[in-house]
């Protein structure tokens, strides 16, 4: 579904990504772990071109999205993204946050979009918050709604950029629960996270990144129980 070919990214003199090649298959849950500054967030943000790669190619569903002739806005509709800081739109109600994309971009009638949004809210148990504003919600609620907002566009893949890092500890569970359900439903997901428990339980594949490259990849069992790379071993010994 996503093919990343020889991806490089630098900010000025700072080389953040140094040659990344991976393929994400449909239905896979790819979890990226690694120390801070290893480039994992930058890599994720390159996947939907929030950061423009310095060189290399990203092929999404057969279309080279790094080619300027292809309309990235169309492709982004199929790639949901969830941010560390939620980034809900504070001037819009929860319902409007969720329906804005479908109404304006997919020309879905307002009534239908709102029905769909309410169904999604019901799935995460927040249907009573439809008319609230983001400032009235807890962090965990905001993030679950941010996930639903991305889902409302019916994306083919969901990208998660440290979705639980800005949350109070007691709210991490409710967000991970929603993500687990998504994975169980067969959604293709790429997740950057520090939640090793989530990686072990849900990932179909774990990538360990350090210094802008993928140092090691494999099944959760291979990475967590039998890491081969020294850098992976060192990192895991610190976080587990």
């Amino acid at each position: 579904m996503i093919d990343v070919i020889d991806l490089y990214k630098s900010f000025g003199a700072l080389q953040v990504l140094r040659g990344i090649d991976i393929t994400v298959q449909k239905g896979e849950v790819v979890v990226i772990i690694g120390p801070s500054g290893s480039g994992k967030s930058t890599f994720l943000r390159c996947l939907n071109l929030l950061e423009g790669p310095s060189s290399g190619k990203i092929i999404f569903e057969g279309i080279d999205i790094t080619d300027k002739n292809n309309n990235i806005n169309k492709q982004r509709q199929k790639m949901g993204m969830v941010f560390q800081n939620f980034n809900l739109f504070p001037h819009l109600s929860v319902l409007a946050n969720i329906t804005l994309g479908p109404i304006k971009l997919k020309n879905i009638p307002k009534k239908k979009a709102e029905e769909d949004a309410r169904l999604l809210l019901k799935r995460i148990g927040l249907e009573d918050k439809a008319n609230n504003y983001p400032s009235q919600l807890s962090g965990g609620q905001k993030q679950r709604i941010a996930i639903v907002r991305a889902l409302a566009m019916s994306p083919d893949v969901m990208l998660f950029d440290e979705p639980t890092s800005a949350l109070d500890p007691e709210m991490v569970g409710e967000v991970l629960e929603v993500m687990k359900e998504l994975a169980a439903d067969g959604m293709t997901m790429v997740v950057v996270t520090h939640e090793m428990g989530f990686a072990k339980e849900v990932a179909s594949r774990v990538l360990f990144m350090d210094e802008g490259t993928i140092k090691e990849e494999g099944s959760p069992d291979e990475i967590f129980s039998h890491p081969k790379n020294d850098r992976t071993k060192e990192f895991l010994s610190k976080v587990l």
Binding site: L50, N73, Q77, M81, F83, N87, H91, G101, K104, A146
Partner: protein, 221 residues
Amino acid sequence: MEFGFVKDYSQYFINGTISTVVIAVLTVLLGVIIGTLLALMKISKGRIPRIIASAYIEFIRGTPLLVQISLVYYSVSFPKFVFLGIEMNRFIPGVIAMAINSGAYVAEIIRAGIQAVDKGQMEASRSLGFNGLQSMRYIVLPQAVRNILPALGNEFVVVIKESSVLSVIGIVELMRSADIIKAAIYKPFEPLIVVAVIYFVLTFTLTRVLGFAERRMKTGD
């Protein structure tokens, strides 16, 4: 001091006040249009629009309003015509000059208001598939307005006061009314006091109304 003249010349004060308020309203409206264009140019990706906008803003802010008004007034010689009892050949260039001036300040207010919106908002919008323009329209600008409106209110107050400079090109606003009465009653001081009080009542009322509106907007969050 003797203020008996106020009654005899009340119509002058009233007309002058109306004129000042109308000038200020038109200036701010036109200034917002010019300022929005400049602000969008200044935050755009293109080098040339950015340079043009910066040059405009720097030049206007670096030269006196009095000079700008005279430049506009003497560079276009409108034929004399009167409409609604107003000498439009003075009024139009006067308002244009004020708007050109105010636009530069408004541009900075709008630019700051847009840039104060968290970058994550634009990213979230783009990640949904909105293009840059749609993201501005649906996500960034509605939030920027909340930052911009209070500062724009202050600009309104500034424009009311600075419009007094327009008296030099003969527009009969408040300041010019005082001059006329001064000449008629041979007293320089009293008409100016009356005018100063009127300016103060205008700006003080406006400041209060703005403060009230700002508090209302905050609680609406």
